[in-house]
Symmetry: C2
Subunit: 179 residues, 2 copies
């Protein structure tokens, strides 16, 4: 039974395909519900996908949590980017004088029976003044712990070496091999 | 054909019922999608409601927009409340030194053919240091323009006199009378 990674993003797809070669890309517009819990958001999408297609599915969700803002933006990061951009996020961290942050990717896997498992990769770091023009989204303000470069200053190759998505996918690969 | 106000909140229901006496309360758990646009969120819920029941439906959504944060929190206000509370929101406004805000309620109405119309009531105001123990949610930090009391310092009667929900409902009532 085919394993589909539901995403419109070719780069994300290629990153996971390097780890789990058998996957197929599937573009599908799925409802994204409001929650601070990425697993809840993914679960809803996986169930919607299973109602429309036969198959096994992967869906991922990216979070950026600022210590200054509790669990926010969390999985709601894209709305923060739309409303205030990374400059706005940096401004909030700076004015609250609290720069600790954690970025994470959760991958949800729905098997042929519709059972759902989650796999998480995370990266601690700091919010810094925007640096770098590589990457996308909030990359220029995220400085991973132990690095001197922000995500925005890393090439794709450098970024992939410490990729949260990759770490989540490695956990998933091990799970698939055992089952 | 019955007109249902889909809400679990008895107070909201009673407030609208005073303006549109014919409505019935309907409690239904509907998916709330991520968006900064309340109309998009309501439209999705109204369509889901129409698939499950026969009838006409009303669904409302409340926004609080801080000038300091673009359109945020907007309809995502409940997640801000969960993550940082009104104290956290006040702290952000204060540290960014920008207190202007606008609160609004949008009511979506789905008629017997499934056509959808929106009615909005809004209230400009300021974010202030928390005051008052009445009301709920972010009431203690919202000072409506022209008032010396925050929502948190107003009785239900006082608050209803300048209610955004009431203003949206009055627009809806006029529309229903014309159609």
């Amino acid at each position: 039974m085919l394993l589909y990674f539901v995403t419109g993003n070719k780069n994300k797809f290629n990153e996971i395909k390097r780890i789990i070669p058998g996957i197929k890309q599937l573009k599908m517009d799925l409802p994204e519900i409001q929650s601070l819990n990425p697993e809840e958001i993914i679960r809803y999408k996986l169930k919607a996908a299973s109602r429309r297609y036969k198959g096994q599915f992967l869906i991922d969700d990216t979070c950026l949590c600022l210590k200054a803002m509790g669990k926010l933006p969390g999985p709601l990061i894209k709305w923060f980017m739309e409303a205030i951009g990374y400059e706005g996020l940096y401004k909030i961290a700076k004015s609250l004088n609290e720069f600790s942050a954690e970025a994470s990717v959760v991958i949800g896997y729905s098997d042929k029976k519709g059972n759902i498992k989650f796999f998480k990769g995370s990266q601690k770091g700091k919010i810094v003044e925007p640096r770098g023009t590589l990457g996308w989204g909030w990359d220029p303000i995220f400085l991973p712990k132990g690095s001197t470069k922000t995500y925005g200053e890393m090439t794709i190759k450098e970024k992939n070496m410490i990729s949260m998505r990759k770490r989540a996918a490695e956990k998933l690969r091990k799970y698939l091999e055992r089952n």
